[in-house]
């Protein structure tokens, strides 16, 4: 083997390792794609469950560096399931630390979201397994914030609707003011 071939092979290996590590770093910490399965976020994501396709969304992974200040009520986030470390769940942030919330189906009770946790709910509450069944979720489980759907082409750049209006009276910002009163 000539030295030119050896040099070429070495450059190929180094280049491949560099490319793979850059891709892994970017998809872990900057920006990644994720496929949405299930109907818990209808109509924001996967709006038509009769079709065969699923939405593929762009996920901003930079929120991981400072979750306490970069998440807002109404953001759609992906997080690891507290019950299965290999499963990823997509839900909407409904309440942040120190907020109070009235859980769905229990109109007489109150939950105060503890420090470092958030309250996640699917928009389609009847098909959603969320904080109403397993309680507040640690912010450290958040993987990223959904930016926009990019696939199928008809859904490219579709606007993500805000927090459903009927949920707002249930949320008390910082435990005192109703979110729906805060807007006025």
């Amino acid at each position: 083997m000539s030295s030119a071939t050896r040099l070429f092979r070495r450059r190929l290996v180094v280049g491949a390792v560099a490319a793979v590590s850059v891709v892994v770093f970017v998809t872990d910490n900057v920006l990644s794609l994720q496929m949405i399965s299930g109907r818990s976020m209808q109509p924001a994501l996967n709006p038509d469950s009769n079709r065969l396709w699923r939405d593929v969304v762009l996920v901003n992974r930079m929120v991981k560096s400072d979750m306490t200040s970069r998440l807002n009520r109404g953001d759609i986030v992906t997080f690891t399931s507290p019950f299965d470390p290999n499963r990823c769940i997509v839900k909407r942030v409904v309440a942040l630390p120190h907020d109070c919330i009235v859980p769905l189906g229990k109109p007489d009770s109150f939950v105060r979201v503890p420090m470092g946790h958030f309250w996640a709910e699917g928009d389609e509450s009847f098909h959603s397994n969320d904080s109403n069944s397993f309680g507040p979720i640690p912010l450290a489980l958040v993987d990223g914030r959904v930016i926009t759907p990019i696939w199928p082409p008809s859904r490219f750049g579709a606007r993500i609707p805000p927090l459903p209006e009927w949920k707002r009276p249930r949320i008390f910002a910082n435990g005192s003011t109703r979110l729906s009163d805060l807007d006025r």
Partner: protein
């Protein structure tokens, strides 16, 4: 000082620096980061909660993160986890319970409470029970919050920190 000097000397220098950053420095940083995330890490720990196993003033530890390490976590292992109360904080504790186990929350209390560890959770406690913020306060901790398994102490007293848990034969084990 003329613009000719800038274009002949300074601009090539900046171009070289730019190439070096994009083609060498950034991929190298990414490579190191990826190794930290998927192989292991050397990191510093501090605090009183793991006395006498770890120093209060600080230990340099070897942390394993090879694929599938979460499935290999057993009772008695030391693990790093992100605090449920503050996502920016990390801590080291010992695994005392796995999914399905039933254990006593705090044996020193007058009223004993028992808890069954749910699916996908572990029970973590520091070795220094009198000064440790752990599962007795946070409750069972999701496996997904674990950030690595401690293998060894590198400095100041090099030794492996492998699981040396012994199950004492008694009425809990022989049914």
């Amino acid at each position: 000082m003329s613009s000719r000097w800038f274009f002949s000397r300074l601009l090539p220098f900046f171009q070289d620096m730019g190439k070096l950053t994009v083609l060498v420095a950034f991929p190298t940083a990414c490579f190191i980061h990826t190794i930290f995330d998927y192989v292991g890490e050397i990191s510093m720990s501090m605090g009183p909660s793991m006395l006498p196993t770890l120093n209060m003033a600080g230990d340099i530890l070897l942390i394993e993160r090879l694929p599938g390490w979460r499935d290999r976590v057993r009772v008695g292992d030391l693990v790093v986890f992100a605090s449920p109360a503050d996502p920016a904080k990390r801590a080291i504790k010992r695994v005392l319970g796995q999914p399905g186990d039933t254990l006593c929350v705090d044996p020193t209390k007058d009223k004993l409470a028992y808890v069954q560890i749910p699916r996908g959770h572990v029970w973590l406690q520091g070795d220094n029970y009198t000064n440790s913020t752990d599962s007795r306060i946070h409750g069972p901790i999701p496996l997904a919050l674990l950030r690595g398994r401690v293998l060894a102490c590198i400095w100041p007293s090099p030794r492996t920190l492998s699981n040396n848990m012994e199950i004492i034969p008694g009425h809990f084990t022989d049914n």
